[in-house]
Symmetry: C2
Subunit: 496 residues, 2 copies
């Protein structure tokens, strides 16, 4: 029993340490390792204050997305004024799109350093979930690391949630780098291999800052993944075929380079597909380990994986927790400033696979918005990985809304990844390899290989007419009056 | 006299080693250190072939922009099929925008590694200008390094131009890193300080590959900079005031962090302005050293500067060449894969200052295109620096074409730097600090601080109506039918 454990209180008592206007840094990344009790108690506290006619809103900083118990409840209580650096909660999304919450959509590798730089202001309280507290006060993290290290370091007050749902055997699964410095004291990250340890297995906290410890026993969000449908299967096939193609041309070694796979069903399907490939001794250096990657580890195809979070279905989470010892030494969870660090991503030469909402004919990719104005989730780590990877893939079905929306459009209604950064686009229709191509050659390849046949001729017609209309602008020809007309048509008629 | 010098031939004889369809890697970066004789001889050779009815086109790879003697003459001869990674020649620009040259507009930190990865195909010939050849065969580079190291390593055949206009005292001004490896053999760059040497003062070449050596004596392009006009002065004042502001808030040290300053008049004006600031012991880690930065070195304000190229007016180039010994140890020229390396930029915590063509109200920046379709120059290193810097500034006058064009628009007609990457926008009107702001707060700040008064109310009106029209899309509200209408209006009426 540690000295810290003697500070155990109820969630309500812990939440009383959070004041109106506070900036609160919570643990949690893709529905894993977020606090389970204090946010709900805080939501109650805020609702009571609002009923008394008092102002009570906080800024909410996390690792990435959390769960209904955090973003959902706090949003419903009207408790959040500002949110960063990523979220994916439906209730919070609605509030953001209603203009009620200011949302700062940041590259996940930037969030910790920008907090250290003071760009977001001073952090008042950290609320961090852990799997255990050692007698000496060191903290054993659970299913995610995210920004927990940074929030523990920066916050004036710390609230810990000890969740006994996380197996105590999580000890040894984490590598918390404590070498982060501000310029000009920064040093190279001596990380040469996905599984290399450069830090400690524990999070540290100044005991003097710990104002409350709360005991919980509650599972992570653990939503199911969709079964692999024919479209996802086709996209996964295109990606795996292409990797074979690159190996055959000596542009990739037989065991590939470390894989990064984004959050969601399609990236999950690609990982599942790799289980049936001929590749051996794969490694991963990624943000999240989803079901497909855990299966790859189980099959032995994937030797080891570094990430910042587990993002598993309830079934896989149970499987993981029951067999946790068998994964030790094969899974390493790091702070997101390290899992997503440009320096490491570029050095290791990652193969990055991320989803997209739409791409334009020149390969500019929209990862965040629908019809220009409304945000879905956020850019997450896709920019960290795409910009610095050896190879990057952006993957989406060629249509959405039963074919009413084309994922390939004349002009992307929001751009998160520019033509300078995107290399390979994949839909169920096929794959466009854009490396070393001019914009016009990119357009021809994307239209031919990625667009749905229903939209292909119209896209080609747009390109042809844009070319004809711009005799002095045939580098990236556009028709300004039509560039966003497909999105407009959808808004007015429900179809592009 | 080295063994290599015995291979001295005429430029025409050297150019005979270049065949139709070859990929040719030439030295040169921002009009410095490009070959002066072989390109002209090659252009003659191509023209003669064309007169005989023969096909003769090459792919032209460089460091960055060259000069009329390279891009101009080769374009006029119809000699270029593909061009990368950056150029700024008016003749070449016209050919690119006419669809006659395929232009691959690449982050400058990506070009060397993507060539190594094999993404552009095999390099046939390197044509590299140097200041001298040592008896042992080592090469003393001149006024730029750019991609010369990579082209010398990769090319099957090498042609050297020894330009005696470059002082022989260039020896010792360069740091050529020979530790670059392909994944998984990559190691951390042990570069902790802008002036730290991690390589050799010389370029290496396999003597067996050297098919020709050509002697020249010709100056670099050395175009004059525009005198600092009131708008540039105002922008420079805003930047310097802001840096003082950040120092006062303890977010920057008194000597700042290493400066990066983009190519062009405005970035040059900012450097000139710093000469009259109270900052001392400044350093630079940048792509190019322009006149303003040389003056800062002369004044002692700037202790030292690392770059990949000198980009000086004729007057300053003469001054530099005459006083070259006084700059030794205070200027270091590196390969562009190091000067622009994300790992180093992030570690050193750069202050990056780059020009832009336009920004939209949410802070997406267009650095490359006018009216969507026509490219001006290219992204250059602006993405390398902006994404990885501690602080980034994008700078432009608030209007162009005598006020007919607003540099702040509802929706950027091309996006090179997304909202996730841009921090501080500056026009002569003022400065918008976008750090930690939601898109709506960014828009209010940009419209209020950066837009020209003539356009301010219309931008605010667009924002207000976009907000009203999108009750479920108030994160980044847009009116799709109007988003590009300002550009359309300019196309139709000559004014926005």
């Amino acid at each position: 029993m540690s000295a810290l454990s003697s500070r155990t209180v109820s969630a309500a008592e812990a939440a009383a340490h959070i004041s109106p206007g506070d900036r609160v840094g919570m643990s949690g990344f893709t529905g894993a390792g977020y606090p389970k009790a204090v946010p709900e108690a805080l939501a109650d506290r805020v609702e009571q204050a609002h009923q008394r006619g008092e102002e009570f809103r906080i800024e909410l900083w996390t690792g990435a997305s959390t769960a209904p118990e955090v973003d959902g409840l706090l949003t419903e209580a009207g408790a959040v004024s500002k949110r960063l650096p990523f979220q994916s909660d439906p209730t919070a999304r609605q509030a953001i799109n209603a203009g009620e919450i200011e949302y700062i959509d940041t590259h996940l590798s930037h969030s910790a350093q920008q907090a250290w730089f003071g760009f977001y202001g001073k952090l008042d309280v950290a609320v961090v979930e852990v799997a255990g507290i050692l007698p000496n006060g060191l903290l054993v993290p659970g299913s995610s690391v995210g920004n927990s290290k940074t929030w523990l370091d920066l916050a004036e007050k710390v609230i810990l949630e000890v969740n006994s749902w996380h197996p105590r055997a999580y000890e040894g699964f984490h590598d918390i780098y404590y070498g982060t410095r501000l310029p000009p004291q920064r040093m190279p990250l001596q990380l040469l291999d996905p599984m290399q340890r450069i830090g400690d297995p524990y999070l540290r906290v100044d005991p003097a800052k710990v104002v409350a410890v709360v005991q919980t026993e509650a599972p992570d969000r653990n939503l199911p993944f969709k079964p692999v449908d024919p479209d996802s299967q086709a996209m996964a096939d295109h990606v795996v075929d292409f990797l074979h193609h690159e190996v055959a041309r000596d542009r990739l070694p037989k065991g590939l380079f470390p894989l990064q796979s984004g959050v969601g069903n399609i990236a999950n399907a690609v990982m599942t597909n790799l289980a049936h490939s001929q590749f051996e001794d794969l490694t991963a250096y990624t943000e999240v380990i989803q079901d497909g990657m855990l299966e790859l580890l189980d099959s032995g195809k994937l030797a080891a994986a570094s990430a910042t979070s587990l993002c598993l279905s309830a079934q896989k989470a149970e499987h993981f927790n029951e067999n946790i010892e068998s994964y030790k030494g094969r899974i390493l969870l790091r702070p997101q400033e390290i899992s997503n660090h440009p320096e490491v991503i570029r050095r290791l030469g990652l193969i990055a696979i991320n989803g997209m909402i739409e791409a334009d004919i020149y390969g500019n990719v929209n990862s965040t918005h629908v019809m220009a104005s409304s945000i879905i989730n956020g850019i997450g780590g896709s920019g960290d990985f795409a910009r610095n990877a050896y190879l990057n893939f952006f993957v989406s079905p060629s249509t959405a809304k039963d074919g009413m929306i084309s994922a390939i459009v004349p002009f992307a209604s929001h751009i998160d990844h520019t033509e300078h950064d995107t290399q390979i686009l994949v839909t169920e229709q096929g794959l466009a390899d854009l490396r070393g191509l001019s914009p016009m050659a990119r357009a021809r390849s994307i239209i031919r290989n990625c667009a749905h046949p229903h939209y292909r001729d119209r896209l080609q017609d747009y390109l042809d007419r844009a070319c004809a209309a711009n005799p002095g602008g045939r580098h990236t020809p556009h028709l300004l009056g039509e560039a966003l007309s497909w999105h407009q048509a959808f808004q007015h008629t429900g179809r592009m």
